[in-house]
């Protein structure tokens, strides 16, 4: 099957900024919003836009990501032609005694050069996993094709705070949408401008050209060595996205964006309640959630397969969470199969998968510093 565009997802690029959550997994596999993983948004956006040929570039710790994706069936990506494909780091035997893996996107692209050369679509859509949004990539592709651009960068106009600016690239453009300048990870940057959402469309030929160039010249930064150099020579355009988008560049962001799903109903609806563009995830076949007689639940998002006997307020519960009798869970995020006994109090807690909290234990964080409990801990 010939497809118009191939998808290319970077699953690890932001691991270092989300260290607690990525100790046992890649950024792509971070649980988010009751039953999803961050990669579900990138994958669903592609599938919902007719891109059924998706490649996932991995780095390390991708067991949990592979486990999540499986055959790709739950995203309709188990295909005879195309479908989902993992591109683990490619290292020639004995060639790399230090076992150096890539650090940047460009290095990642170089390491999968052979695979990119085998893409047979005209366009390639690149996406990271740190941005949570429900975007119709067909619109981006159409604009890209109509404008004859070499690259189209998806941007969103925002007023950044300095902390967030440090992790992002900002793009200046003229009134015709032509890119005029890049500002990469600036310090003390607060002026309203177009932040790059780490989603872009490339002409496949150009992408291949870049990667081959980079290999022969030992380039390593996509922004500095390629975009900045080619800016005047090539046709770079922006696509301005106007709907809600949430970027997760730190643990703090993770907590805030998650809680935003509860507070901001229109964000929730835009993300999840678009009938034509649902968000897919691994199906677990859980039973519905059971609320017992004396349970009390308020302002919370709850996945299936939970059993709730205590009280839950302003919290996010993943699949299979148990909240015991007389237990209070407030302003917390409990990952899959977290078990809380009786008389437990949790406030501002993020508990990773399979955490067990014994009867009577009380744990409190603060809104600016939620407590993180690592996977499988018993407290």
């Amino acid at each position: 099957m010939n497809t118009l565009a191939t998808g290319l997802i970077f699953s690890n690029i932001h691991d270092s900024t989300l260290h607690d959550l990525t100790r046992v997994r890649s950024t792509a596999a971070i649980p988010f919003g009751c039953r999803y993983r961050l990669i579900d948004f990138a994958l669903s956006n592609m599938v919902n836009s007719g891109i059924y040929d998706v490649n996932i570039i991995t780095h390390n710790n991708y067991h949990s990501l592979m486990d999540h994706i499986g055959s790709g069936k739950d995203w309709d990506l188990a295909r005879r032609s195309g479908g989902v494909r993992f591109l683990p780091p490619f290292i020639t035997a004995y060639a790399n005694s230090e076992n150096n893996l890539y650090n940047t996107r460009l290095e990642a692209l170089m390491s999968v050069n052979y695979s990119i050369a085998s893409f047979n679509s005209k366009y390639v859509v690149l996406s990271d996993c740190d941005v949570v949004c429900n975007i119709d990539l067909r619109e981006v592709l159409n604009q890209h094709i109509d404008s004859g651009a070499d690259v189209t960068f998806v941007v969103k106009k925002i007023k950044p705070n300095p902390e967030m600016a440090k992790h992002n690239a900002f793009i200046d453009s003229d009134e015709n949408g032509n890119v005029t300048n890049f500002t990469y990870k600036p310090l003390n940057y607060t002026k309203e401008s177009d932040v790059f959402l780490n989603i872009c469309v490339f002409n496949r030929n150009y992408l291949q050209e870049i990667v081959e160039d980079a290999i022969s010249h030992h380039y390593w930064s996509l922004t500095r060595d390629i975009y900045m150099k080619d800016l005047r020579r090539k046709n770079y355009k922006i696509f301005r996205y106007t709907d809600h988008v949430a970027e997760i560049c730190s643990f703090d962001d993770y907590f805030k964006v998650s809680m935003g799903l509860i507070e901001n109903k229109s964000f929730f609806n835009q993300l999840f309640n678009n009938q034509d563009r649902p968000v897919y995830t691994k199906v677990r076949n859980s039973a519905p959630t059971y609320y017992s007689k004396n349970s009390y639940v308020k302002d919370s998002l709850i996945a299936d397969g939970c059993v709730i006997e205590g009280s839950v307020e302003n919290s996010i519960l993943f699949r299979g969470v148990k909240v015991g009798k007389d237990t209070v869970v407030m302003n917390s995020i409990l990952f899959q199969d977290t078990f809380t006994g009786e008389n437990v109090t949790l406030q501002y807690v993020v508990s990773d998968k399979d955490v067990v909290i014994r009867d009577g234990v009380s744990i409190s964080g603060h809104t600016t510093m939620p407590v993180y409990i690592e996977k499988g801990r018993m407290l």
């Binding site: 039973a287 519905p288 959630t289 059971y290 007689k293 639940v297 998002l301 006997e309």
Partner: protein
């Protein structure tokens, strides 16, 4: 060619389920929603998969669209197999005559070719209208050990209710000596569950014989089983212990849903070792808003709850607005209960909207069955509907008028 299979399951899913009235207006009984996110057919299908049976023929006849669509290629139950898998088997036209499925036995008879291609040792006959978890593999093992021609699953029922079932009278070793359909004076409390294991050659022989008999009504319970017994075939009962419920009536469907509730439910859906699979539609997590009160209820994906939900089973995508009360009820997918409305002791089919401040159903009295509202209805604001009635799009207006007068 076709790989030989130990067992082929044939699932009878063609029944109309007329005693479910409007709930089966546009779908066959096995496609009726159950337990928040399942359909009735998920239970026998999941039992098959969990028992290691990977070749299942689903015999459809009445209103097959929803069922066909739901089963699809069987991927949801891991039944998308290169050899075997799930196959929907509708009645078909043949060179010499064509016919609807005249009875359960005739339905299987018309699909003998499906069974033959896998040359199975045994054929398992199931029906698509029971809620239960059962390991068929154990029953088949028992059947083979006994060298039986037919094994019938049996459930112990209270003696005073035995006259409502097909009763198996057995010897101590469970060998069946007599089968009585709804006996006035039952001699045993072993009721047939409508689950049969047949040795393939015996089944084919009797189906062919039965087909030639013009007086037969081509039914397993009425014809095949009695005939085999009369011929002295080796038939055993297989004792099943556990939950089993025929959900063929409004009351039993409601009861079965209620059996899922409670800290230790009568029927447990949370057992990860015997998962019930279903076809999943990508819906967001459920949202419980401020002001909501949820007691002893099951709620699933896509729901948005701001009102009160007590002792109820709520399917996907249901909205319960502020100050609305849902009690002792079963709401199927996409139902909207507007603010101030009061729903009690009701079954409401998919995508029906209950208007503001309406009252639907009243308290459960004695063994009266719950009120039933069909699919895609719009109940206007301030309406009043009560009593053990079945409301569909044809009689809604009539009932609304009556309700207003009351």
């Amino acid at each position: 060619m076709f790989r030989k299979k130990e067992c082929v399951a044939m699932l009878l899913a063609g029944g109309q389920g007329s005693r479910l009235y409007t709930l089966t207006e546009t779908m066959a009984k096995p496609a009726v929603q159950f337990g928040g996110k399942y359909r009735i057919i998920d239970f026998p299908l999941s039992n098959c998969v969990n028992s290691g049976i990977d070749t299942v023929g689903v015999l459809t006849q009445y209103q097959p669209l929803v069922l066909n669509e739901y089963i699809g290629n069987g991927a949801a139950w891991d039944l998308d197999k290169s050899s075997g898998g799930v196959h929907v088997l509708p009645p078909y036209q043949a060179k010499r005559g064509s016919d609807w499925y005249k009875g359960t036995a005739n339905a299987i008879y018309q699909n003998i070719n499906f069974i033959k291609r896998y040359s199975p040792k045994v054929v398992l006959i199931l029906s698509g209208d029971h809620i239960y978890k059962m390991n068929y593999a154990k029953m088949i093992r028992e059947h083979l050990k006994n060298n039986a021609d037919c094994t019938i699953a049996a459930l112990k029922v209270p003696m005073d209710q035995a006259s409502r079932f097909g009763i198996l009278n057995t010897k101590d070793d469970n060998k069946i000596i007599e089968f009585e359909e709804k006996p006035a004076n039952p001699k045993s409390d072993k009721a047939s569950m409508g689950i049969y294991v047949f040795s393939t050659d015996v089944l084919l022989e009797y189906l062919t014989m039965d087909e030639k008999d013009p007086t037969s009504s081509n039914d397993f319970g009425k014809n095949i089983i009695p005939k085999m017994l009369a011929d002295g075939k080796t038939m055993f009962a297989y004792d099943f212990e556990g939950y089993w419920k025929d959900v063929g009536t409004i009351s039993s469907l409601w009861e079965a849903n209620m059996d899922l509730l409670g800290k230790k439910p009568v029927f447990n859906l949370f057992d990860r070792s015997w998962r019930i699979y279903y076809r999943h539609n990508a819906e967001p997590p459920q949202r419980i808003n401020a002001g909501a009160q949820v007691d002893n209820s099951l709620i699933t994906e896509g729901c948005d709850i701001s009102g009160t939900v007590i002792n109820s089973v709520i399917s996907n995508g249901v909205v319960v607005e502020k100050d609305a009360v849902v009690k002792d009820s079963v709401l199927m997918s996409g139902v909207v209960v507007k603010s101030g409305a009061n729903v009690s002791y009701a079954i409401i089919d998919h995508d029906t909207t209950i208007g503001k401040d309406s009252v639907v159903g009243n308290k459960q009295v004695g063994n009266k069955s719950p009120i039933v509202l069909g699919a895609d209805l719009v109940v206007p604001d301030g309406s009043n509907l009560s009593g053990s009635i079945i409301v569909d799009d044809e009689n809604l207006d009539e009932y609304l008028e009556k309700g207003a007068k009351r």
